[in-house]
Protein backbone atom coordinates (compact mmCIF):
# COMPACT_ATOMS: atom_id res chain seq x y z
CA UNK A 1 0.00 0.00 0.00
CA UNK A 2 1.93 3.03 -1.26
CA UNK A 3 1.88 6.15 0.89
CA UNK A 4 0.78 9.55 -0.38
CA UNK A 5 2.10 13.03 0.30
CA UNK A 6 -0.35 13.59 3.15
CA UNK A 7 0.87 10.47 4.90
CA UNK A 8 4.47 11.56 4.51
CA UNK A 9 3.55 14.93 6.01
CA UNK A 10 1.68 13.31 8.88
CA UNK A 11 4.51 10.88 9.62
CA UNK A 12 7.03 13.70 9.45
CA UNK A 13 5.03 15.69 11.98
CA UNK A 14 4.67 12.68 14.28
CA UNK A 15 8.47 12.36 14.07
CA UNK A 16 8.89 16.11 14.58
CA UNK A 17 10.88 16.34 11.36
CA UNK A 18 10.39 18.72 8.50
CA UNK A 19 10.21 17.51 4.93
CA UNK A 20 10.57 20.46 2.61
CA UNK A 21 7.81 20.77 0.05
CA UNK A 22 10.24 20.38 -2.83
CA UNK A 23 11.59 17.18 -1.27
CA UNK A 24 8.17 15.70 -0.59
CA UNK A 25 7.96 13.74 -3.84
CA UNK A 26 11.46 12.30 -3.47
CA UNK A 27 10.87 11.39 0.12
CA UNK A 28 7.59 9.74 -0.78
CA UNK A 29 9.22 7.70 -3.54
CA UNK A 30 12.05 6.57 -1.35
CA UNK A 31 9.57 5.72 1.36
CA UNK A 32 7.53 3.61 -1.03
CA UNK A 33 10.62 1.87 -2.34
CA UNK A 34 11.55 0.76 1.14
CA UNK A 35 8.00 -0.17 2.10
CA UNK A 36 7.60 -2.13 -1.08
CA UNK A 37 10.75 -4.02 -0.23
CA UNK A 38 9.77 -4.84 3.36
CA UNK A 39 6.37 -5.93 2.16
CA UNK A 40 8.03 -9.18 1.10
CA UNK A 41 7.25 -10.16 4.66
CA UNK A 42 3.61 -10.60 3.74
CA UNK A 43 4.60 -13.77 1.83
CA UNK A 44 5.52 -15.46 5.10
CA UNK A 45 2.86 -17.52 6.79
CA UNK A 46 2.86 -16.39 10.39
CA UNK A 47 -0.40 -18.00 11.50
CA UNK A 48 -0.05 -19.13 15.10
CA UNK A 49 3.39 -17.58 15.40
CA UNK A 50 3.85 -15.51 18.53
CA UNK A 51 5.73 -12.25 18.05
CA UNK A 52 9.28 -12.30 19.42
CA UNK A 53 9.37 -9.52 21.97
CA UNK A 54 12.62 -10.36 23.67
CA UNK A 55 15.40 -12.79 22.76
CA UNK A 56 16.30 -12.83 26.40
CA UNK A 57 14.45 -15.62 28.21
CA UNK A 58 15.22 -14.30 31.65
CA UNK A 59 12.39 -12.62 33.54
CA UNK A 60 12.60 -8.95 34.32
CA UNK A 61 14.82 -8.37 37.35
CA UNK A 62 13.41 -6.15 40.08
CA UNK A 63 15.40 -3.44 41.80
CA UNK A 64 15.22 -2.78 45.54
CA UNK A 65 13.36 0.37 46.48
CA UNK A 66 16.28 2.55 47.51
CA UNK A 67 17.27 6.10 46.68
CA UNK A 68 20.49 5.81 44.68
CA UNK A 69 20.32 8.87 42.42
CA UNK A 70 19.40 12.52 42.45
CA UNK A 71 20.49 15.67 44.22
CA UNK A 72 22.63 16.52 41.23
CA UNK A 73 20.60 19.18 39.46
CA UNK A 74 23.86 20.75 38.33
CA UNK A 75 24.82 17.69 36.32
CA UNK A 76 21.29 17.22 35.05
CA UNK A 77 21.32 20.77 33.70
CA UNK A 78 24.99 20.89 32.65
CA UNK A 79 24.30 20.17 28.97
CA UNK A 80 21.07 22.15 28.71
CA UNK A 81 20.97 24.61 25.80
CA UNK A 82 18.64 26.84 27.85
CA UNK A 83 18.04 26.92 31.57
CA UNK A 84 16.89 29.46 34.15
CA UNK A 85 16.38 29.22 37.91
CA UNK A 86 17.27 25.53 37.77
CA UNK A 87 14.56 24.76 35.22
CA UNK A 88 14.89 23.66 31.61
CA UNK A 89 13.41 26.35 29.44
CA UNK A 90 11.26 25.95 26.33
CA UNK A 91 9.14 28.38 24.34
CA UNK A 92 5.86 29.03 26.10
CA UNK A 93 3.43 26.16 25.77
CA UNK A 94 -0.13 27.34 25.35
CA UNK A 95 -2.57 24.77 26.72
Amino acid sequence: MPVDNDTVRRIAFLSRLKVDTDKLEDTKEEFNKILNWVEELSEVNTDNVAPLVSVNNESLALRDDAITAGHNAKEILANAPAQEFGYFVVPKVVE
Binding site: L14, R16, V53, S54, N56, E58, S59, L60, A61, L62, R63, D64, D65, A66, I67, T68, A69, G70, H71, N72, A73, E75, I76, L77, E84, F85, G86, Y87, F88, V89, V90, P91, K92, V93, V94, E95
Partner: protein, 485 residues
Amino acid sequence: MTEYVITTEKGKWEIICGLEIHCQIISQSKIFSGASTEFGDDVNENVSFVDAGMPGMLPTLNKECVHQAVKTGLGLNAVINKYSEFSRKNYFYADLPQGYQITQFQYPIVGEGAIDIDLADGTSKTIRIERMHIEQDAGKSIHDMSPTKSFIDLNRAGVGLMEIVTRPDFRSPDEAGAFLKKLRSILRYLGTCDGNMDEGSMRCDVNVSVRPYGSDELRTRCEMKNVNSVKFVMQAIESEAKRHIDVYENGGTITQETRQFDPATQTTKVMRKKEFAHDYRYFPEPDLPPLILSDEFINKIRNELVELPDAKKARFIKELGLTAYDAAVICENKETADFFEKAAKGHDAKKVANWLMGDFFAMLNEKKLELKDSPVSAENLGSLVELITSNVINGKTAKDVFALMAETGENPEKIVEERGLKQVTDTGAIEKLIDDLLASAADNVAAYRGGKVGLFGWFVGQIMKQSQGKANPQVVNALLKKKLG
Protein backbone atom coordinates in the same frame (compact mmCIF):
# COMPACT_ATOMS: atom_id res chain seq x y z
CA MET B 1 -31.52 1.94 43.86
CA THR B 2 -32.79 5.34 42.83
CA GLU B 3 -32.42 5.84 39.13
CA TYR B 4 -30.81 9.03 37.94
CA VAL B 5 -32.72 10.30 34.95
CA ILE B 6 -32.29 13.67 33.32
CA THR B 7 -35.71 14.79 32.20
CA THR B 8 -36.14 17.63 29.73
CA GLU B 9 -39.18 18.96 27.92
CA LYS B 10 -38.28 16.69 25.04
CA GLY B 11 -37.44 13.48 26.79
CA LYS B 12 -35.65 11.41 29.35
CA TRP B 13 -31.93 10.68 29.27
CA GLU B 14 -29.46 8.60 31.17
CA ILE B 15 -25.74 9.01 31.73
CA ILE B 16 -23.06 6.48 30.79
CA CYS B 17 -19.81 7.23 32.53
CA GLY B 18 -16.48 5.52 33.09
CA LEU B 19 -13.43 6.69 34.98
CA GLU B 20 -9.68 6.39 34.54
CA ILE B 21 -7.83 7.15 37.71
CA HIS B 22 -4.09 7.78 37.95
CA CYS B 23 -2.79 7.01 41.41
CA GLN B 24 0.76 7.84 42.46
CA ILE B 25 2.36 4.78 43.99
CA ILE B 26 3.78 5.17 47.48
CA SER B 27 7.45 4.17 47.22
CA GLN B 28 10.81 5.63 48.20
CA SER B 29 12.29 5.76 44.73
CA LYS B 30 10.83 6.17 41.27
CA ILE B 31 9.42 3.29 39.27
CA PHE B 32 12.34 3.07 36.81
CA SER B 33 15.13 4.97 38.57
CA GLY B 34 16.76 5.44 41.95
CA ALA B 35 15.74 9.10 42.36
CA SER B 36 13.51 10.05 45.29
CA THR B 37 9.75 10.44 44.92
CA GLU B 38 9.74 13.19 47.56
CA PHE B 39 7.31 15.99 46.73
CA GLY B 40 8.35 19.60 47.17
CA ASP B 41 12.14 19.35 46.95
CA ASP B 42 14.19 21.91 45.02
CA VAL B 43 13.76 22.05 41.25
CA ASN B 44 15.30 19.16 39.31
CA GLU B 45 16.94 17.73 42.43
CA ASN B 46 15.07 14.44 42.46
CA VAL B 47 16.11 13.59 38.94
CA SER B 48 18.37 10.75 37.82
CA PHE B 49 20.04 10.54 34.42
CA VAL B 50 17.34 8.01 33.51
CA ASP B 51 14.54 10.44 34.41
CA ALA B 52 16.20 13.19 32.37
CA GLY B 53 16.22 10.92 29.31
CA MET B 54 19.99 11.16 28.95
CA PRO B 55 21.54 9.22 26.06
CA GLY B 56 22.17 5.55 26.83
CA MET B 57 20.20 5.54 30.08
CA LEU B 58 18.01 2.51 30.79
CA PRO B 59 15.03 1.86 33.05
CA THR B 60 15.15 -0.68 35.88
CA LEU B 61 11.92 -1.70 37.59
CA ASN B 62 11.36 -0.91 41.26
CA LYS B 63 10.23 -4.03 43.14
CA GLU B 64 8.17 -1.98 45.57
CA CYS B 65 6.08 -0.52 42.75
CA VAL B 66 5.25 -4.04 41.55
CA HIS B 67 4.46 -5.04 45.12
CA GLN B 68 2.16 -2.06 45.56
CA ALA B 69 0.43 -2.72 42.26
CA VAL B 70 -0.27 -6.35 43.14
CA LYS B 71 -1.54 -5.27 46.55
CA THR B 72 -3.84 -2.75 44.95
CA GLY B 73 -5.03 -5.32 42.43
CA LEU B 74 -5.94 -7.67 45.25
CA GLY B 75 -7.70 -4.79 47.00
CA LEU B 76 -9.77 -4.27 43.86
CA ASN B 77 -10.71 -7.96 43.91
CA ALA B 78 -8.95 -8.21 40.59
CA VAL B 79 -7.08 -10.82 38.63
CA ILE B 80 -3.30 -10.49 39.00
CA ASN B 81 -1.64 -11.25 35.68
CA LYS B 82 1.44 -13.35 36.17
CA TYR B 83 2.66 -12.25 32.73
CA SER B 84 2.74 -8.57 31.95
CA GLU B 85 4.66 -6.39 29.54
CA PHE B 86 5.80 -2.81 29.43
CA SER B 87 5.19 -0.73 26.32
CA ARG B 88 6.25 2.64 25.09
CA LYS B 89 3.65 5.31 24.45
CA ASN B 90 5.32 7.72 22.07
CA TYR B 91 4.61 11.44 22.03
CA PHE B 92 6.57 14.63 22.27
CA TYR B 93 6.07 16.93 25.20
CA ALA B 94 8.33 19.21 27.18
CA ASP B 95 7.88 17.34 30.44
CA LEU B 96 8.33 13.90 28.85
CA PRO B 97 12.12 13.64 28.57
CA GLN B 98 12.42 10.31 26.77
CA GLY B 99 9.87 11.24 24.13
CA TYR B 100 7.83 8.27 25.31
CA GLN B 101 6.14 7.13 28.47
CA ILE B 102 6.87 3.64 29.71
CA THR B 103 3.49 2.15 30.45
CA GLN B 104 1.63 -1.13 30.02
CA PHE B 105 -0.65 -1.58 27.06
CA GLN B 106 -1.61 -5.01 25.84
CA TYR B 107 -0.63 -6.95 28.95
CA PRO B 108 -1.33 -5.01 32.17
CA ILE B 109 -0.29 -6.32 35.56
CA VAL B 110 -3.86 -6.31 36.88
CA GLY B 111 -6.92 -7.54 35.01
CA GLU B 112 -10.63 -7.44 35.75
CA GLY B 113 -11.89 -6.64 39.21
CA ALA B 114 -14.85 -5.08 40.98
CA ILE B 115 -15.66 -2.96 43.98
CA ASP B 116 -18.97 -2.27 45.71
CA ILE B 117 -20.07 1.26 46.39
CA ASP B 118 -22.63 2.37 48.97
CA LEU B 119 -25.16 4.90 47.84
CA ALA B 120 -27.02 7.54 49.82
CA ASP B 121 -30.32 5.67 49.60
CA GLY B 122 -28.80 2.74 51.43
CA THR B 123 -28.40 0.53 48.38
CA SER B 124 -25.11 -0.62 46.99
CA LYS B 125 -23.84 -1.25 43.48
CA THR B 126 -20.94 -3.14 41.96
CA ILE B 127 -18.58 -1.17 39.73
CA ARG B 128 -16.47 -3.30 37.42
CA ILE B 129 -12.77 -2.59 37.00
CA GLU B 130 -11.52 -3.24 33.47
CA ARG B 131 -7.80 -3.25 34.25
CA MET B 132 -5.01 -1.58 36.14
CA HIS B 133 -1.53 -0.99 34.80
CA ILE B 134 1.62 0.67 36.06
CA GLU B 135 3.53 3.42 34.33
CA GLN B 136 5.72 6.47 34.89
CA ASP B 137 4.51 9.97 35.64
CA ALA B 138 5.62 12.98 33.57
CA GLY B 139 7.48 16.02 34.86
CA LYS B 140 5.85 19.39 35.40
CA SER B 141 5.67 22.35 33.05
CA ILE B 142 5.24 25.75 34.61
CA HIS B 143 3.59 28.18 32.25
CA ASP B 144 2.92 31.21 34.42
CA MET B 145 6.44 32.34 35.28
CA SER B 146 7.06 34.17 32.02
CA PRO B 147 4.99 35.48 29.12
CA THR B 148 7.25 33.83 26.55
CA LYS B 149 8.70 30.74 28.20
CA SER B 150 7.66 27.57 29.94
CA PHE B 151 9.82 26.07 32.67
CA ILE B 152 10.38 22.36 33.14
CA ASP B 153 10.91 20.60 36.46
CA LEU B 154 11.53 16.88 36.20
CA ASN B 155 11.20 16.00 39.89
CA ARG B 156 7.91 14.21 39.25
CA ALA B 157 9.14 12.57 36.02
CA GLY B 158 9.31 8.83 36.62
CA VAL B 159 7.25 8.61 39.80
CA GLY B 160 5.26 5.37 39.65
CA LEU B 161 1.59 5.53 38.75
CA MET B 162 -1.19 2.99 38.81
CA GLU B 163 -3.86 3.67 36.22
CA ILE B 164 -7.18 2.14 37.16
CA VAL B 165 -9.74 1.92 34.38
CA THR B 166 -13.39 1.21 35.21
CA ARG B 167 -16.10 -0.13 32.95
CA PRO B 168 -18.66 2.50 31.94
CA ASP B 169 -20.83 1.47 34.88
CA PHE B 170 -21.70 4.83 36.38
CA ARG B 171 -25.23 6.07 35.80
CA SER B 172 -25.10 9.16 37.99
CA PRO B 173 -22.62 11.69 39.36
CA ASP B 174 -23.28 10.32 42.84
CA GLU B 175 -22.14 6.87 41.83
CA ALA B 176 -18.89 8.25 40.49
CA GLY B 177 -18.42 10.25 43.67
CA ALA B 178 -19.10 7.25 45.87
CA PHE B 179 -16.68 5.19 43.80
CA LEU B 180 -13.85 7.68 44.12
CA LYS B 181 -14.35 7.89 47.88
CA LYS B 182 -14.42 4.14 48.13
CA LEU B 183 -11.35 3.74 45.95
CA ARG B 184 -9.49 6.34 47.96
CA SER B 185 -10.46 4.55 51.14
CA ILE B 186 -9.18 1.20 49.79
CA LEU B 187 -5.89 2.73 48.58
CA ARG B 188 -5.32 4.36 51.94
CA TYR B 189 -6.12 1.14 53.79
CA LEU B 190 -3.58 -0.62 51.58
CA GLY B 191 -1.03 2.17 51.89
CA THR B 192 -0.40 2.08 48.15
CA CYS B 193 -1.45 5.68 47.34
CA ASP B 194 -2.22 8.61 49.62
CA GLY B 195 -5.26 9.47 47.48
CA ASN B 196 -4.91 13.23 47.79
CA MET B 197 -6.65 14.59 44.72
CA ASP B 198 -5.89 18.21 45.55
CA GLU B 199 -2.15 17.47 45.58
CA GLY B 200 -2.41 15.51 42.37
CA SER B 201 -1.42 12.16 43.81
CA MET B 202 -4.77 10.87 42.56
CA ARG B 203 -6.04 12.27 39.24
CA CYS B 204 -9.19 11.42 37.41
CA ASP B 205 -10.12 11.34 33.72
CA VAL B 206 -13.87 11.17 33.16
CA ASN B 207 -15.57 9.65 30.11
CA VAL B 208 -19.16 10.68 29.57
CA SER B 209 -21.87 9.92 27.06
CA VAL B 210 -25.66 9.95 27.28
CA ARG B 211 -28.46 7.94 25.72
CA PRO B 212 -32.23 8.07 25.70
CA TYR B 213 -33.49 6.55 28.91
CA GLY B 214 -34.15 2.84 28.55
CA SER B 215 -32.21 2.33 25.33
CA ASP B 216 -29.06 0.25 25.13
CA GLU B 217 -27.21 2.19 22.47
CA LEU B 218 -23.72 3.58 23.03
CA ARG B 219 -23.23 7.13 21.83
CA THR B 220 -20.05 9.12 21.29
CA ARG B 221 -18.22 9.89 24.48
CA CYS B 222 -16.04 12.78 25.49
CA GLU B 223 -13.16 12.63 27.91
CA MET B 224 -12.39 15.23 30.53
CA LYS B 225 -8.78 15.11 31.63
CA ASN B 226 -7.32 15.65 35.09
CA VAL B 227 -10.37 16.59 37.11
CA ASN B 228 -8.92 17.14 40.57
CA SER B 229 -11.59 16.65 43.21
CA VAL B 230 -14.49 14.31 43.88
CA LYS B 231 -16.87 17.23 43.79
CA PHE B 232 -15.53 18.46 40.44
CA VAL B 233 -15.80 14.98 38.96
CA MET B 234 -19.47 14.91 39.90
CA GLN B 235 -20.03 18.40 38.54
CA ALA B 236 -18.14 17.61 35.35
CA ILE B 237 -20.29 14.56 34.68
CA GLU B 238 -23.45 16.52 35.17
CA SER B 239 -22.46 19.50 33.06
CA GLU B 240 -21.04 17.35 30.26
CA ALA B 241 -24.14 15.15 30.20
CA LYS B 242 -26.34 18.22 29.97
CA ARG B 243 -24.23 19.56 27.12
CA HIS B 244 -24.64 16.31 25.21
CA ILE B 245 -28.41 16.29 25.78
CA ASP B 246 -28.65 19.87 24.67
CA VAL B 247 -26.72 19.13 21.49
CA TYR B 248 -28.80 16.04 20.69
CA GLU B 249 -32.11 17.74 21.40
CA ASN B 250 -31.17 20.53 19.06
CA GLY B 251 -30.42 18.07 16.29
CA GLY B 252 -26.66 18.20 16.63
CA THR B 253 -24.04 15.49 16.98
CA ILE B 254 -21.33 15.00 19.54
CA THR B 255 -17.78 14.51 18.27
CA GLN B 256 -15.26 12.47 20.18
CA GLU B 257 -12.84 14.86 21.80
CA THR B 258 -10.86 15.63 24.88
CA ARG B 259 -12.32 18.40 27.03
CA GLN B 260 -11.43 20.26 30.15
CA PHE B 261 -13.78 20.98 33.04
CA ASP B 262 -13.72 24.48 34.46
CA PRO B 263 -15.09 24.48 38.00
CA ALA B 264 -15.50 28.25 37.96
CA THR B 265 -18.00 28.22 35.12
CA GLN B 266 -19.24 24.67 35.68
CA THR B 267 -18.74 23.99 31.98
CA THR B 268 -16.40 21.94 29.84
CA LYS B 269 -14.45 23.25 26.90
CA VAL B 270 -12.65 21.42 24.12
CA MET B 271 -8.92 20.68 24.48
CA ARG B 272 -8.23 18.45 21.54
CA LYS B 273 -10.36 17.24 18.65
CA LYS B 274 -10.02 13.66 17.54
CA GLU B 275 -8.40 14.57 14.23
CA PHE B 276 -5.58 16.10 16.24
CA ALA B 277 -5.45 13.09 18.49
CA HIS B 278 -2.07 11.60 19.17
CA ASP B 279 -0.92 8.51 17.38
CA TYR B 280 0.89 6.99 20.32
CA ARG B 281 2.60 4.18 18.38
CA TYR B 282 2.60 1.79 21.33
CA PHE B 283 5.09 -1.05 21.06
CA PRO B 284 6.69 -3.43 23.57
CA GLU B 285 9.44 -1.68 25.59
CA PRO B 286 12.65 -3.34 24.33
CA ASP B 287 14.60 -2.16 27.38
CA LEU B 288 12.48 -4.26 29.75
CA PRO B 289 11.84 -7.99 29.29
CA PRO B 290 8.35 -9.23 30.20
CA LEU B 291 7.51 -9.18 33.91
CA ILE B 292 6.79 -12.66 35.24
CA LEU B 293 5.32 -12.93 38.74
CA SER B 294 5.46 -16.14 40.74
CA ASP B 295 2.53 -17.52 42.74
CA GLU B 296 4.78 -17.23 45.73
CA PHE B 297 5.26 -13.50 45.22
CA ILE B 298 1.52 -12.92 44.78
CA ASN B 299 0.45 -15.18 47.65
CA LYS B 300 2.85 -13.57 50.05
CA ILE B 301 1.21 -10.22 49.35
CA ARG B 302 -2.25 -11.79 49.57
CA ASN B 303 -1.45 -13.25 52.98
CA GLU B 304 -0.18 -9.95 54.28
CA LEU B 305 -3.17 -7.99 53.03
CA VAL B 306 -4.87 -5.80 55.65
CA GLU B 307 -8.60 -6.10 56.34
CA LEU B 308 -10.29 -3.83 53.82
CA PRO B 309 -13.19 -1.43 54.53
CA ASP B 310 -15.94 -3.79 53.31
CA ALA B 311 -14.76 -6.70 55.42
CA LYS B 312 -14.20 -4.48 58.40
CA LYS B 313 -17.63 -2.95 58.03
CA ALA B 314 -19.29 -6.35 57.82
CA ARG B 315 -17.45 -7.47 60.93
CA PHE B 316 -18.40 -4.35 62.89
CA ILE B 317 -22.06 -4.90 62.01
CA LYS B 318 -22.04 -8.60 62.75
CA GLU B 319 -19.78 -8.80 65.75
CA LEU B 320 -20.09 -5.41 67.36
CA GLY B 321 -23.72 -4.72 66.53
CA LEU B 322 -23.13 -1.43 64.75
CA THR B 323 -25.73 -0.10 62.33
CA ALA B 324 -24.76 -0.26 58.66
CA TYR B 325 -24.57 3.51 58.55
CA ASP B 326 -22.32 3.86 61.58
CA ALA B 327 -20.08 1.04 60.39
CA ALA B 328 -19.73 2.64 56.97
CA VAL B 329 -18.81 6.03 58.41
CA ILE B 330 -16.29 4.55 60.83
CA CYS B 331 -14.71 2.25 58.23
CA GLU B 332 -14.22 4.85 55.50
CA ASN B 333 -10.94 5.77 57.08
CA LYS B 334 -8.61 3.11 58.41
CA GLU B 335 -7.28 5.30 61.22
CA THR B 336 -10.82 5.98 62.44
CA ALA B 337 -11.71 2.29 62.25
CA ASP B 338 -8.56 1.34 64.14
CA PHE B 339 -9.22 4.02 66.76
CA PHE B 340 -12.78 2.82 67.13
CA GLU B 341 -11.76 -0.77 67.50
CA LYS B 342 -9.27 0.10 70.19
CA ALA B 343 -11.80 2.26 72.03
CA ALA B 344 -14.57 -0.33 71.79
CA LYS B 345 -12.46 -3.19 73.06
CA GLY B 346 -14.24 -4.67 76.09
CA HIS B 347 -16.87 -1.92 76.16
CA ASP B 348 -20.30 -1.23 74.68
CA ALA B 349 -19.36 -0.83 71.02
CA LYS B 350 -22.57 0.91 69.97
CA LYS B 351 -22.18 3.51 72.71
CA VAL B 352 -18.52 3.97 71.77
CA ALA B 353 -19.60 4.50 68.15
CA ASN B 354 -22.12 7.13 69.24
CA TRP B 355 -19.56 8.96 71.32
CA LEU B 356 -16.97 8.73 68.55
CA MET B 357 -19.25 10.08 65.84
CA GLY B 358 -20.83 12.64 68.17
CA ASP B 359 -18.90 14.49 70.85
CA PHE B 360 -15.52 13.09 69.85
CA PHE B 361 -15.56 14.20 66.18
CA ALA B 362 -17.18 17.50 67.20
CA MET B 363 -14.31 18.07 69.59
CA LEU B 364 -11.68 17.33 66.89
CA ASN B 365 -13.48 19.64 64.50
CA GLU B 366 -13.65 22.40 67.03
CA LYS B 367 -10.01 22.05 67.93
CA LYS B 368 -9.08 21.56 64.25
CA LEU B 369 -7.14 18.44 65.10
CA GLU B 370 -6.31 15.27 63.18
CA LEU B 371 -7.34 11.99 64.74
CA LYS B 372 -3.73 11.10 65.45
CA ASP B 373 -3.32 14.30 67.49
CA SER B 374 -6.43 13.79 69.60
CA PRO B 375 -5.99 14.62 73.31
CA VAL B 376 -8.52 11.89 74.08
CA SER B 377 -6.99 8.48 73.49
CA ALA B 378 -8.95 5.50 72.25
CA GLU B 379 -8.48 3.75 75.60
CA ASN B 380 -9.77 6.77 77.51
CA LEU B 381 -12.81 7.08 75.29
CA GLY B 382 -13.55 3.41 75.99
CA SER B 383 -13.13 3.96 79.74
CA LEU B 384 -15.54 6.88 79.65
CA VAL B 385 -18.19 4.73 78.01
CA GLU B 386 -17.51 2.06 80.61
CA LEU B 387 -18.10 4.57 83.42
CA ILE B 388 -21.48 5.37 81.88
CA THR B 389 -22.59 1.80 81.29
CA SER B 390 -21.59 0.75 84.76
CA ASN B 391 -23.59 3.67 86.22
CA VAL B 392 -20.56 5.28 87.82
CA ILE B 393 -21.45 8.55 86.14
CA ASN B 394 -24.58 9.62 84.33
CA GLY B 395 -24.79 10.92 80.79
CA LYS B 396 -24.78 14.54 81.79
CA THR B 397 -21.70 14.20 83.96
CA ALA B 398 -20.06 12.22 81.16
CA LYS B 399 -20.25 15.25 78.88
CA ASP B 400 -18.48 17.34 81.47
CA VAL B 401 -15.91 14.62 82.03
CA PHE B 402 -15.30 14.39 78.28
CA ALA B 403 -14.75 18.13 78.09
CA LEU B 404 -12.17 17.82 80.84
CA MET B 405 -10.52 14.88 79.08
CA ALA B 406 -10.23 16.93 75.89
CA GLU B 407 -8.73 19.78 77.87
CA THR B 408 -6.29 17.86 80.03
CA GLY B 409 -5.75 14.57 78.22
CA GLU B 410 -6.30 12.78 81.52
CA ASN B 411 -8.16 9.53 81.92
CA PRO B 412 -11.82 9.70 82.94
CA GLU B 413 -11.45 7.59 86.11
CA LYS B 414 -8.97 10.06 87.49
CA ILE B 415 -11.15 13.04 86.60
CA VAL B 416 -14.23 11.46 88.18
CA GLU B 417 -12.32 10.45 91.27
CA GLU B 418 -10.52 13.73 91.84
CA ARG B 419 -13.55 15.85 91.25
CA GLY B 420 -15.96 13.62 93.12
CA LEU B 421 -18.25 13.20 90.16
CA LYS B 422 -19.41 9.68 90.88
CA GLN B 423 -23.14 9.53 90.65
CA VAL B 424 -25.20 8.93 93.77
CA THR B 425 -27.23 5.73 93.57
CA ASP B 426 -27.65 5.41 97.33
CA THR B 427 -31.48 5.53 97.68
CA GLY B 428 -31.26 6.60 101.32
CA ALA B 429 -29.35 9.77 100.48
CA ILE B 430 -31.63 10.59 97.59
CA GLU B 431 -34.70 9.88 99.69
CA LYS B 432 -33.50 12.38 102.25
CA LEU B 433 -33.07 15.06 99.61
CA ILE B 434 -36.59 14.34 98.32
CA ASP B 435 -38.13 14.44 101.74
CA ASP B 436 -36.48 17.80 102.45
CA LEU B 437 -37.65 19.18 99.10
CA LEU B 438 -41.26 18.03 99.50
CA ALA B 439 -41.37 19.55 102.94
CA SER B 440 -40.03 22.91 101.82
CA ALA B 441 -42.12 23.13 98.61
CA ALA B 442 -45.56 22.28 99.93
CA ASP B 443 -47.27 24.59 97.39
CA ASN B 444 -45.84 22.79 94.42
CA VAL B 445 -46.57 19.42 95.98
CA ALA B 446 -50.19 20.45 96.37
CA ALA B 447 -50.35 21.80 92.83
CA TYR B 448 -48.85 18.59 91.43
CA ARG B 449 -51.24 16.46 93.35
CA GLY B 450 -54.00 18.74 92.15
CA GLY B 451 -53.27 17.75 88.57
CA LYS B 452 -50.34 19.96 87.43
CA VAL B 453 -48.27 16.88 86.47
CA GLY B 454 -46.00 19.05 84.39
CA LEU B 455 -44.31 20.04 87.63
CA PHE B 456 -42.64 16.62 87.86
CA GLY B 457 -39.70 17.85 85.87
CA TRP B 458 -39.23 20.74 88.27
CA PHE B 459 -38.90 18.28 91.16
CA VAL B 460 -36.34 16.21 89.26
CA GLY B 461 -34.40 19.32 88.39
CA GLN B 462 -34.27 20.47 92.00
CA ILE B 463 -32.98 17.15 93.21
CA MET B 464 -30.35 16.95 90.48
CA LYS B 465 -29.28 20.46 91.34
CA GLN B 466 -28.97 19.72 95.01
CA SER B 467 -26.99 16.57 94.28
CA GLN B 468 -24.75 18.63 92.03
CA GLY B 469 -25.80 16.42 89.11
CA LYS B 470 -24.49 13.29 90.67
CA ALA B 471 -27.80 11.67 91.60
CA ASN B 472 -28.73 8.75 89.39
CA PRO B 473 -31.65 10.14 87.38
CA GLN B 474 -33.46 6.78 87.22
CA VAL B 475 -33.40 6.45 90.99
CA VAL B 476 -34.55 10.06 91.42
CA ASN B 477 -37.45 9.48 89.04
CA ALA B 478 -38.59 6.29 90.72
CA LEU B 479 -38.45 7.70 94.24
CA LEU B 480 -40.15 10.96 93.31
CA LYS B 481 -42.99 9.11 91.60
CA LYS B 482 -43.47 6.98 94.70
CA LYS B 483 -43.37 9.89 97.16
CA LEU B 484 -45.56 12.26 95.17
CA GLY B 485 -48.11 9.49 94.74
